[in-house]
Amino acid sequence: MKLSLQAGVGAAIRNHGVEAYPDECCGAMIGRDGIVTRTYALPNATEEGPRRRFRIRPQDYREAERQATESGADLVGFYHSHPDHPARPSQYDLDHAWPVFSYVIVSVREGVAEDMTSWRLREDRSVFDEENLEEHVN
């Protein structure tokens, strides 16, 4: 499994994570066949404290899916940040994950973006498998 980020996509995710720090940011990734061509920043609608949680409202999900479809692409997955924590999925991430989607996590430490990883839910929902994340520079 591999996820490729076209030029500018990785930077957009990192910048969003830095802007939102110390809160978590979130957004949709649009593309096709494991290649993300653009991101779509979404508001973090969590009511459980944005420093440790994110939630995307159903209407925002629908809008992201509509945007993807209208541009002839697919919704590839979602990204979010882990402020001052490693770029590894939590049990909470696992419990709320959907199949097929790629979940990109960027770690932001003291306002600086560090590691970025990508994960996919295993078919039986037991665990996330890390996928190879490839960033294109140009």
Binding site: E24, C26, T46, E48, R52, R53, F54, R55, I56, R57, P58, Y61, R62, E65, A68, D74, L75, F78, H80, H82, P83, H85, P89, S90, Q91, Y92, D93, H96, A97, W98, P99, V100, F101, Y103, D124, R125
Partner: protein
């Protein structure tokens, strides 16, 4: 009675890539049961182990959240459509 259920992107691999599925039943619960009967792989992603809809699965009847109607007991008419919309959530712990 035929009704349509709109399937979100992450569940389409379980419906042979169909974006919508024709189902029949008299309530929202019956439509969902018909859907999972036709496409068994959907079950574990829609329902928790106790048989209840997962709380991050949103179901809309003609754009109204069934939580504000009669949930799975909500009656449906011919031509009504259902949409399954994921709540995407996560976080540190």
């Amino acid at each position: 009675m035929a009704n349509t259920i709109h399937i979100p992107t992450p569940l389409r691999p379980f419906t042979d890539k169909q974006e919508s599925v024709e189902v029949s039943g008299n309530t929202v619960g019956e439509l969902l049961a018909d859907l999972t009967k036709r496409h068994e792989g959907l079950k574990r992603h829609l329902y928790a182990e106790d048989g209840r809809l997962r709380n991050f699965v949103n179901v809309y009847l003609n754009d109204e959240d069934i939580r504000y109607l009669q949930r799975e007991q909500t009656p449906v008419k011919a031509g009504d459509s259902l949409s399954i919309v994921p709540s995407v959530a996560g976080g540190l712990r």
